[in-house]
């Protein structure tokens, strides 16, 4: 039953669009605006998924297998992916849901991301990727190294995240912010009018990640949410006609496009938006870097930073740190340095007196 992938993907696209959930922004803004506004909800999503998957594993429903740890490939791949998502203006899921909102730049990033992931996984560089990823060391997960139950890191991490959530909620309490005027009433007001808070986004992302594990496993694919491999599979299927490549995960990524399009359309937030040539070129280059980086690292901000982290694998956490550092480096290059330099490549914004 690979069609459940389409439903989970559509729900995911809908949630991401309504909550403006951007993992790139979450990582980037730790440095750029010193903000954890989206980072903490993302950690919450990991924690929710970790608890759910741990429980379902103990119950015998799931049998997740964490990826073996290939440090060089994971670190280099994570850094490249982190740089790529800043240039592309969104991570893998971010690019999918923005494409669904009608951003032409995101379509450019998406096509090159999928193409380069296919080159690295199924194309001429497949052997190189395999060789890089076969240089593994030690155990795959933290609990394997420590020789403890998977519940130990799960409970410790969930406790840490709970403290972080409480701190952030208290800090933001009593700080009013402007909201858009309502256009719908009743249920529609909540579903397709007001933006959802990052907390709602994070909780639903964590729950959907658990549902993904269950439905994907039922379809014969032992895995959770994943974006890069299915993107590469779509390109390879379209060029070879090999139907065996079309699985639950391919349905999932197509579903994200559909779900975010529906969310944006219902909320009056869909429009074909054409960026300037510079943004298109950045998106193309960023997309290519994302494809190469995610293939080397064995996953993107979803496959590694959300899913492998919840299994407490070294690949998940080391690549998360590498991706974060990559976004900081690229944010400095693209966003901080031009502002500081007197002869910035981006001209200062022009202000005109309003009539």
């Amino acid at each position: 039953m690979i069609l459940t992938g389409l439903l989970v993907g559509a729900a995911l696209g809908y949630v991401l669009q309504r909550s403006r959930f951007c993992v790139t922004g979450a990582f980037r803004d730790l440095y750029l605006t010193r903000s954890t506004r989206y980072f903490t909800p993302f950690m919450l999503a990991i924690a929710i998924q970790a608890v759910g998957v741990a429980a379902l594993t103990s119950a015998g429903v799931l049998a997740p297998e964490a990826a073996s740890f290939a440090p060089v490939a994971v670190i280099v791949g994570g850094l490249l992916f982190g740089i790529g998502i800043i240039f592309a203006g969104g991570c893998a899921t971010g690019t999918y849901y923005r494409a669904g909102e009608g951003l032409i730049g995101s379509w450019a990033a998406l096509i090159f991301y999928a193409l380069f992931a296919a080159i690295m996984k199924f194309g001429p560089l497949g052997a190189f990727t395999e060789a890089a990823r076969s240089r593994t060391v030690g155990e795959a997960t933290i609990q394997d190294t420590l020789g403890v139950s998977h519940w130990v890191p799960t409970v410790i991490f969930a406790g840490l995240v709970t403290a972080l959530v409480v701190w952030q909620v208290r800090r933001n309490a009593g700080r009013p912010r402007a909201a858009l005027p309502a256009r719908r009433t009743g249920l529609g007001h909540y579903l397709a009018d007001i933006p959802w808070s990052p907390w709602v986004g994070g909780v639903l992302l964590g729950l959907l990640a658990i549902i993904a594990w269950v439905t994907s496993t039922a379809s014969g694919r032992n895995g959770g949410l994943g974006i890069t491999t299915p993107s590469a599979k779509i390109v390879t299927y379209l060029t070879t006609g090999d139907i065996t490549l079309v699985d639950w995960s391919v349905m999932l990524v197509l579903g994200i496009l559909v779900g975010s399009f529906i969310a944006a359309k219902l909320s009056g937030e869909f429009r074909w938006r054409v960026p300037d040539a510079r943004t298109i070129l950045r998106s193309v280059g960023g997309g290519a870097l994302m494809g190469v980086g995610a293939a080397l690292a064995g996953g993107c901000t979803i496959g590694n930073s959300l899913v492998e982290t919840s299994l407490f694998s070294y690949q998940g956490w080391v690549s998360l740190v590498a991706i974060v550092l990559g976004t900081w480096g690229a944010a400095w290059l693209l966003m901080v340095r031009p502002q500081k330099a007197a002869a910035a490549s981006r001209p200062a914004p022009t202000l005109t007196p309003a009539a």
Partner: protein, 76 residues
Amino acid sequence: MAAYTLETNGAVCPFPLIDAKQAMEQLSTGDDLIIGFDCTQATDSLPQWAAESGHEVVAFDRTGDAGWTITVRKGV
């Protein structure tokens, strides 16, 4: 009190926010900055920035499909 417009349509996030911050530095307390934008994420980041920096949002609305305008009055 003067009012200025800043058009960021076509710019992807976080550039509308970066431009808004830079523009705000040129303004005096009580001046209005009217920002036009079409990046969805800025519907979150711009009011959040205003709330955190002590600026007042005097208007915030849609201008059409996937288009918004926000008027931010510079705080002290």
